[in-house]
Symmetry: C2
Subunit: 408 residues, 2 copies
């Protein structure tokens, strides 16, 4: 039976879930005297099952490698430490040592078994992690860990880089009188000060679930949400989504049950909320566009067309200029080898037709312009070649983006 | 035997080759009272063998389809008509009629057999070609056709869109006392006023060569030149390279001869010269970067890595800002699935090492900065995984580009 879901937008984040303590502190990892919070620690006293999805990058950052290794062991974990300001990527063997050291320091500080704290980093590539700062930050975190709203909020601030605001959401639903909580926080696809877009997202929940089942659910939740957004087309060395389940609600999630479906829905809702926040807070963007390619022969074709359109500089620039330039959309759609056919192509701004069967509906130009001038709108390309589709959240490209990223 | 080649840079272009007449006229194809030249016609009295390479876009513009059809018939041709200001792309059956009509009008006006004049267009997508303007332009061209330097120059101006200057080059070499000429003109990968980057290039030569042999040579010449440049990653519906050979020199080109090799060299030199001019005149760019990826397992891997780096918004923005941000290069190199290995990756700015075996050479930062601050420099990524390589010419991304393209 489908539950009733309650969404708490811009919630305190991870501490909404019973049993999770959080802290977010400032320890100057950027080594520039920057006063902002840059280290988050989140700890469950109860052992958690945990699942993660990670970047498919050839050069995964050291913390990504360490997380994969710990999760591969299959034992329970208790939480994580995450820093902003330094990605610990392209840092070689020394970087691996530092990531493992962060696991040890966090496990000791949280007074949990060794190697039960995961580690995530985001920030500049190719610089050694300043371990004395990190050590201070982890020590300081232990004195701040708590379950209050401000603890969750502090953690949500600490993982940010060029994001302008924290990104949190909580969804709850009730099973047999027991409330299940799924709480999340994320950092965005804006680029860190000199370097790198990194997407980090963390979810806490109080269901009881095996790591294997949790992994399957997480993959389902991530595909149409975090894996279906693009700001600038650059995948990061550090992208990570982690979900921790401590069982405190007493609700068990097993496959083939209504609870399984409801938990999947709740987790997807949290991921969707955070993904949209990431896109809307993309670096110097002014617009959020929901782009759907349908009628493709295969989902792969639909995704390739959608990503080509969403990442075309010409298309993104025209969105910034409120220019409903369907010719640029058609151009991008046609160069990825999906074998689209001009005479079948339909394009819509929201529900207003721009192109039907390859023929421009020019009398509707004023309506196109009005739609593209909004901060949020949708675009649909119907290839009319098959039954497959792909939906992607994306943004415009602004002069501000180039200016912001032209140097450190 | 290898010939001595003479390059005449910024030559008059196509009229350098004996037997070719050219004209470039203004006929207001943009329908905005714009006084600039927008229609070029080039005619050889002698019949020519001709070869073309065209966009691989799913939605080729009508003139591209018409050129392919004429060339497939295998008969000799006499030249071409080309216009800027309207791409005749995404214009359906009406657009095909218009393209064929341009072939007929040009063949009649040039007093050559029907269907022996090719047609090319560049400009806005999705608008009907203003045929009354085109008709006037073709008529006017016939009164202007000539072999003087200014005739070639007029034609070179007439095909431009957002280019800031014409692009021409001529290479000559001598065979048994006979001079062979290979003359070219091109328009650039800047975007036309509202819409589309289109690359058009035309070459005239006076060798005698079969269309099949010419096609093979053209493909060899295009691969490392026009097919190895990117400004913004957007392939156009209209990209076309055509070469016309009228035999006037009395020099025959057949496979397996020294002349074949020398002619291939000369044609490649012309293409290379024009390709570099296109990159350097890319829209609002400030830099031209020669990017080489070597040590790849396959050429495909090398090309994918090179294109990912060259088209990364982060990489391009950092070049604009004189920021030697090798972390962004490494990031882009790692996300295309070429299975690069951090510990083997070398990166060089010109010949100065930035990364050796994954280890940053930070003491050289001042040298990196000095190199990246220049208007032209090279970057080499050595993956150290194999023997394959790919070289690509590319540009930075500027705020000016976004501003220029944000609306029509």
């Amino acid at each position: 039976m489908k539950a009733t879901f309650t969404l708490r937008d811009n919630s305190p984040g991870l501490t909404d879930t019973p049993g999770f303590r959080a802290a977010g502190v400032a320890c100057d990892i950027r080594e520039k005297g920057d006063p902002r919070r840059d280290l988050a620690m989140v700890v469950s006293t109860l052992p958690c099952s945990c699942a993660g999805v990670f970047t498919t990058h050839d050069l995964p950052a050291a913390p990504v490698r360490v997380c994969r290794e710990i999760l591969a062991r299959g034992h329970a974990v208790h939480g994580f430490v995450a820093n902003s300001g330094n990605a610990n990527a392209c840092t070689g063997a020394g970087g691996m040592d530092h990531a493992w050291e962060m696991v040890r320091l966090a496990s000791n500080a949280a007074e949990v078994p060794q190697d039960t704290m995961l580690v995530c980093s985001t920030g500049r590539i190719g610089r050694a992690m300043p371990m004395s700062k990190v050590t201070q930050g982890i020590q300081l975190s232990t004195t701040k860990l708590g379950t209050d709203a401000n603890n969750g909020t502090d953690a949500a601030w600490a993982i940010l880089t060029s994001d302008t605001r924290p990104k949190t959401a909580t969804v709850t639903f009730v099973v047999d009188g027991k409330t299940v909580t799924v709480a999340g926080m994320a950092k965005g696809a804006g680029m860190i000060q000199p370097n790198m877009a990194t997407m980090l997202a963390f979810v806490t929940t109080d269901v009881a679930v095996s790591a294997d089942v949790l992994k399957g659910i997480l993959k389902k939740a991530v595909e149409p949400t975090f894996n279906a957004l693009t700001v600038d087309g650059d995948m990061s060395t550090n992208d990570t989504v982690l979900v921790f389940a401590n069982g405190a609600s007493g609700v068990n999630v097993t496959q083939g049950t209504a609870v399984y479906d409801n938990f999947t829905t709740a987790l997807t809702m949290v991921c969707e909320n955070l993904a949209k926040k990431i896109v809307k807070d993309g670096e110097k963007v002014t617009k959020c566009i929901e782009l759907t390619v349908k009628g493709a022969r295969t989902t792969t074709d639909a995704e390739r067309v959608a990503r080509a359109v969403a990442n075309s500089l010409l298309v993104k620039s025209s969105w910034f200029g409120n220019d409903p330039n369907w010719g640029r959309l058609a151009d991008a759609a046609g160069y990825v080898g999906a074998n689209i056919i001009e005479e079948r192509l339909d394009i819509f701004y929201n529900t207003t037709s721009a192109l039907i069967g390859g023929v421009a509906q020019d009398k509707l130009i004023p309506e196109w312009k009005a739609i593209v001038s909004q901060a949020e709108f949708s675009i649909t390309l119907n290839l009319n070649l098959g039954e497959s589709q792909f939906r992607l959240l994306t943004t415009d490209l602004t002069e501000g983006y180039v200016n912001y990223n032209k140097s450190e």
